[in-house]
């Protein structure tokens, strides 16, 4: 798995989104470039959780927001590298629901969030046998490591 090198302000935007949405799940995209065995994440966009029903346990991104994300990446000369979402009151480990629709190539970053704030952050990518493998987060503050 490639390492993820996330710019601190970008990571801050993702964790702040997760905390603001609590107790609901949040979601968004992130962008950057692949270089020398790692993914450098330089931008993120938050999107609305379009899931109808219990947003404390599910998220869904609309097709329109997905198309906008692809267009944003093309316009900015960046690669759409992945999706982030939060797991309120749960660890940042992929669930069966995450696996069911996961795509290859994308990094899936999960923020575990508690009432007092972000607990930890982990990221995952599917391997060729559709099993999630953890991606090292090289710039993650120690406070957000498991």
């Amino acid at each position: 798995m490639l390492q993820l090198d996330i710019q601190p302000d970008v990571l801050e935007r993702m964790t702040s989104h997760a905390e603001a949405a609590f107790p609901n799940e949040c979601c968004g995209f992130f962008y950057g470039a692949e270089e020398e065995g790692k993914r450098v994440i330089t931008a993120t966009t938050a999107v609305d959780n379009h899931k109808e029903g219990d947003q404390r346990r599910r998220f869904e991104i609309s097709d329109v927001d997905y198309m906008k994300a692809e267009r944003h990446a093309a316009k900015e000369g960046l690669t759409l590298l992945g999706v982030y979402h939060s797991h309120p009151l749960h660890p940042a480990i992929p669930s069966e629901h995450d696996l069911a629709v996961a795509m290859p190539f994308f990094s899936y970053l999960i923020v575990s969030v508690q009432p007092e704030g972000t607990a930890h952050v982990r990221s995952w990518q599917l391997d060729d046998s559709r099993t999630f493998q953890e991606e090292p987060l090289v710039t993650l503050p120690d406070a957000w490591r498991v």
Binding site: D63, P88, H97, V101, P104
Partner: protein, 96 residues
């Protein structure tokens, strides 16, 4: 020829190409041409039965083909056809 826009996560199966064009008069024939040209894409787009996977959406312009004529939606040479992966999930039973 209509143009298919390949989503970023599937470009590893199209040698990095973001678009694909082929002569086709329906969505179905355009998708079939794509799968023939890039066989590695097939399991990500279609069930074993040949049906489109439930978490793959197809748009002609800004219209979901489900609101048109599904895979039989006719195309003309100017159409842009987008493949869009469903993005969803949430907490639940851990799979690790």
């Amino acid at each position: 020829m209509p143009t298919l826009i390949i989503p970023t996560p599937l470009r590893k199966f199209t040698d990095g190409q973001g678009t694909f064009s082929a002569p086709a008069d329906t969505v179905k024939s355009l998708l079939a041409s794509l799968a023939e040209a890039h066989p590695g894409l097939k399991p990500h787009l279609f069930e074993d039965s040949g049906a489109l996977r439930s978490f793959i959406r197809v748009y002609v312009g800004d219209e979901d083909i489900h609101a048109l004529q599904g895979e039989d939606t006719p195309l003309d040479g100017r159409d842009d056809v987008s493949i869009i992966p469903a993005i969803a999930g949430g907490v639940g039973r851990s799979i690790l």
